[in-house]
């Protein structure tokens, strides 16, 4: 029973990791790709770790530390990457309607002036 539950959770995690890969292939520009990859792979990783935790309860503490590390680093690195992409003016998909970061930058610029 425990093994079955763990396997199902791992399988669900693998599905999210697969959808992250699919998102990388199918999304139109850098920013949507990064967000597809990050969100889905963070959730997928954590589900895989949770499934392993159900499978081997004695690993739980180590897996929790790994999950904490993934939660801290994965969004952060994607954030830094997409900000750098934005800073060098990487083109966005034509359907993009809002650019909140540029507005924020402009507002900060005006405040300084």
């Amino acid at each position: 029973m425990q093994e079955l539950a763990g396997s199902i959770v791992i399988l669900v995690g693998a599905f999210f990791l697969f959808s992250a890969g699919l998102g990388l292939l199918r999304m139109p520009d850098v920013f949507t790709r990064i967000q597809a990859g990050t969100k889905a792979s963070t959730l997928g990783n954590i589900l895989v770790l949770a499934g392993l935790g159900i499978y081997h309860p004695d690993w739980a503490l180590k897996l929790l530390i790994v999950a904490y590390f993934v939660l801290m680093t994965n969004p952060l690195s994607s954030h830094a990457l997409s900000r750098a992409a934005h800073a060098i003016g990487t083109p966005m998909a034509e359907t993009t309607v809002a650019d909140a970061l540029r507005e924020a930058d402009e507002a900060a610029e005006e405040n300084r002036a």
Partner: protein, 228 residues
């Protein structure tokens, strides 16, 4: 259209190749005599729980010294190529401040990264890891530090002195092995200790720590050179 056909063709070719590999794979039931020899003699002779580190640092210690020398030359080469005044257009462009998230995130993660690096270095003889891997982990932490604080300056003089000292002590330990034990870089110059504890396996943890310091300092300098 042709591009699609070509991609499909490439995928098919890979599928055939991998299917052949998977189909022809049969799991090895027994260890080869060489593997058996090392599996038996590393824990017994060297007292190291991690077979790979035992082989890497003692049995082929001279090779490892060569690898360290290669890394040293890489660092020196990068230093020669990139050590100059910053390119003019870089100088003119104002460096963007790091975002708040990166700055605060680095504060939380950096201690964990450095702790993990030290752990990997110190436990090289017990579990997966060792000087090279731990040094790379530490250097990745230094890289995060640079991203989070672009103004931070690495003290190159201190790092190169540390790194050279580690290298000198490493070679000195090797020569000590010639004198006190069976040959260059023999780890029997220190007592074997109790199997599986932190202080055990002769000189392996010491050499691992030296390697970690050396690799960490070298890679940090290399990363810092690319920043400018």
């Amino acid at each position: 259209m042709t591009k699609r056909v070509f991609s499909l063709f490439a995928v098919l070719v890979f599928a055939v190749i991998f299917a052949g590999i998977v189909g022809g794979y049969s799991e090895r039931r027994t260890l080869s005599p060489l593997a058996q020899h090392y599996l038996a003699s590393v824990p017994q002779d060297l007292g190291a729980a991690n077979i790979v580190t035992g082989i890497l640092i003692t049995y082929r210690g001279f090779d490892t010294l060569g690898e360290v020398a290669v890394l040293f030359m890489v660092a020196a080469g990068v230093g020669i190529l990139l050590d100059g005044s910053p390119a003019p257009e870089r100088q003119a462009r104002e460096d963007r401040a790091p975002s708040e998230l990166v700055e605060n995130g680095a504060r939380v993660i950096l201690p964990i990264i450095f702790l993990f690096g030290a752990y990997v270095i110190m436990n090289g003889h017990l579990s997966a890891g060792g000087g090279f891997q731990g040094g790379a982990v530490v250097a990745s932490g230094v890289m995060l530090l640079m991203l989070a604080r672009p103004g931070a300056q690495l003290h190159h003089g201190f790092l190169s002195v540390t790194e050279s000292l580690a290298g000198v002590v490493y070679v000195a330990l090797g020569i000590l092995g010639l004198w006190l034990a069976d040959g260059f870089l023999d780890s029997h110059i220190l007592p074997k200790g109790e199997f599986g504890t932190l202080v055990s396996a002769g000189a392996i943890p010491v050499i691992s720590a030296l390697l970690g310091i050396k690799v960490g300092a070298e890679l940090s300098v290399v990363i810092d050179r690319f920043r400018r």
